[in-house]
């Protein structure tokens, strides 16, 4: 199992230019340290109009800054919003390819369609059509990357023959992913041969059936791109400290801060009955299901707040369940001081990741021996 970070670029009030820049610079520094610690990827969300929760309106620019400060870590769009009112498909293809070239081939291309009234209403998007546009984008963009000249005549993507430039560094093109929040979307990912970027936090026992369904369906997929990206990435939280109790206390603070900012947004399903938004998305999903306003929040059991030993045990289970990459949220509204956040990453990198790698090797050796004996 590999590890990554995902940045919301959550920003505390009062909003100032200096404070905003500090959020961005701190996240870049965290990505640099993550690379030093052996993390495989750093992702950036795309959100608009999300006060405090996420000031990540231009993820390609953030990732470009990370690219110039690092040499190896992969750079994930988490996700590129595939809605015409927000981006044209051509612009997304161009931005991803541009970053891929400038980073020497390090882009992971996540796709999705947004789930909030804040965003879709703010851009005047055709909410009933977002699934259709997302589907067309995932089919059109790989053509723009791989064909010298490309034309596409869909209902939301209309491109007369043009050479979309630049072409990506990676050949045939960057790996493609789908943001998965609502149950069943992992099947949409599998059908298209795309990686499942599972954003909804869950305990592992609830997640395993979804992983299995994905693995089964992707065997007979019809890939939208030039290859199948058969991978499962799951978003989780991380705060690692030698004192597990302290880590959980800080983790609870992070979750409460995150929930507060997420709770104020207006999910599509809350404001706009629609045939293509059954469930609330990541933000709404992260709201605890509390009957009473004072009821303590119920958080998923698999979250990574704890000591190195505790996190090893927790992540071993996720690894055994078949997760290829665990992507961590690490900050909310700058709640953690930057030295504390970096120390958490370094502790995780030095005490947990090597043990998991060793455990993985042991598992493979045992499997090989079992195979030989059989």
């Amino acid at each position: 199992m590999q590890f990554g970070l995902i940045h919301e670029l959550s920003t505390p009030r009062p909003f100032t230019s200096e404070g905003q820049r500090a959020v961005y610079e701190n996240a870049i520094e965290a990505s640099v340290v993550a690379e030093q610690c052996g993390f495989a990827s750093t992702w950036c969300v795309e959100h608009h109009f999300m006060e405090e929760y996420s000031h990540a309106s231009c993820p390609d620019q953030f990732l470009m800054a990370v690219a110039r400060a690092t040499t190896r870590i992969r750079l994930g769009f988490g996700i590129a919003t595939s809605v015409p009112a927000i981006h044209s498909a051509v612009r997304l293809a161009e931005k991803a390819a541009f970053l891929d070239v400038m980073s020497g081939g390090r882009v992971e291309f996540g796709t999705g369609r947004s789930s909030t009234w804040n965003e879709l209403g703010g851009f005047g998007a055709a909410i009933d059509d977002t699934k259709k546009s997302w589907d067309e984008y995932t089919r059109a963009i790989p053509k723009m990357w791989t064909q010298e000249r490309c034309s596409f005549n869909g209902s939301t993507v209309k491109l007369p023959e043009r050479m979309v430039l630049p072409k990506p560094w990676q050949k045939p093109h960057p790996p493609m992913w789908v943001a998965v929040t609502a149950p069943g979307t992992e099947i949409d990912a599998a059908e298209r041969g795309m990686g499942a970027l599972i954003l909804s936090h869950s305990d592992v026992t609830r997640a395993i059936p979804r992983f299995n369904a994905y693995r089964e369906r992707i065997k007979t997929c019809e890939p939208v791109g030039a290859f199948v990206n058969n991978r499962i990435a799951t978003v989780n939280w991380l705060y690692c400290h030698k004192d597990g109790e302290y880590a959980r206390r800080r983790g609870k603070e992070l979750l409460e801060s995150f929930s507060y900012t997420a709770a104020q947004t207006v999910e599509i399903s809350e404001g706009y009955p629609s045939s293509n938004y059954t469930n609330i998305g990541l933000l709404g999903g992260l709201r605890a299901d509390a009957e009473s306003p004072g009821e303590k929040k119920k958080f998923a059991s698999g979250l990574c707040f704890g000591s190195p030993d505790e996190l090893f045990e927790n992540l071993r289970v996720w690894q055994d369940a078949g997760v290829d990459q665990m992507i961590f949220l690490i900050q909310s509204r700058e709640l953690l001081a930057q030295p504390e956040l970096l120390e958490s990453l370094r502790l995780f990198g030095s005490k947990v990741m090597p043990r998991l790698a060793e455990y993985n090797l042991e598992q493979k050796r045992e499997a090989a021996q079992t195979g030989e004996a059989a």
Partner: protein
């Protein structure tokens, strides 16, 4: 919770003025079969939303105004029609609407909804009608039309998504000591048919609706449903002067609504 977090700024005096004496705690569900609900949402400026909410709760972002009509043909209160106007807020996790004006078409409904749910309900001519091309809700009080909401070009919402996620209402009630509280209750729905379109308000008399500064600005959606629905008994009283996260809630227990 941080000091910079967004809270409401409604004065206690204003909230007290609309508070309803709440002295009977309902024990049983209120069930309405084959009812009609018309639920429309409009964006309002965030500052306006904050100005209509007490300091204990957070506004939604963006600010939202909700207008809801019921048409009840049968049930324990007899046939009646009802309208309520509220501002979206977060009392923690779930989105809710603080109701600042409500109207019912029969004295029995007015009395019941005031005393047992805390709705600031007044007797008025309330109508929810479905015609060949639109859903129309209206409220006339003392012969004057004070609210009219309509949605045209409705589309059916079908399949598993055929539902409206109606934000539960909260109401302001008097606790006997002059400090109002917020009464929270839940409802559950079994939808039979859902239509959705874009609403507009040909008539919106903000003064008559108890909030002179509140005007719907940007339509979000208007949805009409045929539904069986159940309003459950109130279970919690929320504070109004202190942030909910700090002050906690009061669980209602027994007929007198005493603290648990």
């Amino acid at each position: 919770m941080r000091e910079q977090d967004l809270f409401g700024g409604l004065s206690l005096a204003t909230l007290s003025a609309q508070s309803v004496n709440f002295d009977e705690l309902l024990q049983d569900d209120l069930v309405f079969k084959n009812a009609q609900i018309y639920y429309s949402l409009f964006e309002i400026p965030l500052a306006a939303a904050q100005a209509q909410l007490p300091p204990s709760v957070h506004p939604s972002i963006p600010g939202l105004l909700g207008i809801t009509f019921w048409r009840i043909s049968d049930g324990p209160l007899g046939p009646f029609e009802f309208a309520m106007i509220g501002v979206a807020c977060r009392t923690g996790i779930k989105p809710r609407h603080l109701i600042h004006a409500a109207f019912a078409s029969t004295p029995q409904a007015v009395e019941h909804l005031r005393r047992q749910y805390g709705f600031p309900c007044r007797l008025a001519s309330v109508q929810l009608r479905e015609s060949y091309d639109r859903i129309l809700g209206s409220v006339a009080e003392n012969g004057a039309l004070i609210l009219q909401v309509e949605t045209l070009s409705l589309l059916p919402i079908v399949g598993a998504n055929s539902f409206i996620k109606v934000s539960p209402a909260i109401t302001a009630v008097a606790d006997g000591e002059g400090v109002p509280e917020l009464l929270q209750f839940e409802a559950s729905y079994e939808f039979k048919r859902v239509l959705r379109g874009m609403p507009r308000t040909p008539v919106f008399d903000a003064v008559a609706l108890n909030r002179p500064d509140l005007v719907p600005v940007f339509p979000v959606s208007g949805a009409h449903a045929v539904v069986d629905f159940t309003i459950h008994p109130p279970r919690y009283c929320l504070p109004t002067t202190q942030p909910l996260e700090r002050a906690g809630v009061r669980k209602l227990n027994g007929r007198q609504g005493s603290a648990a």
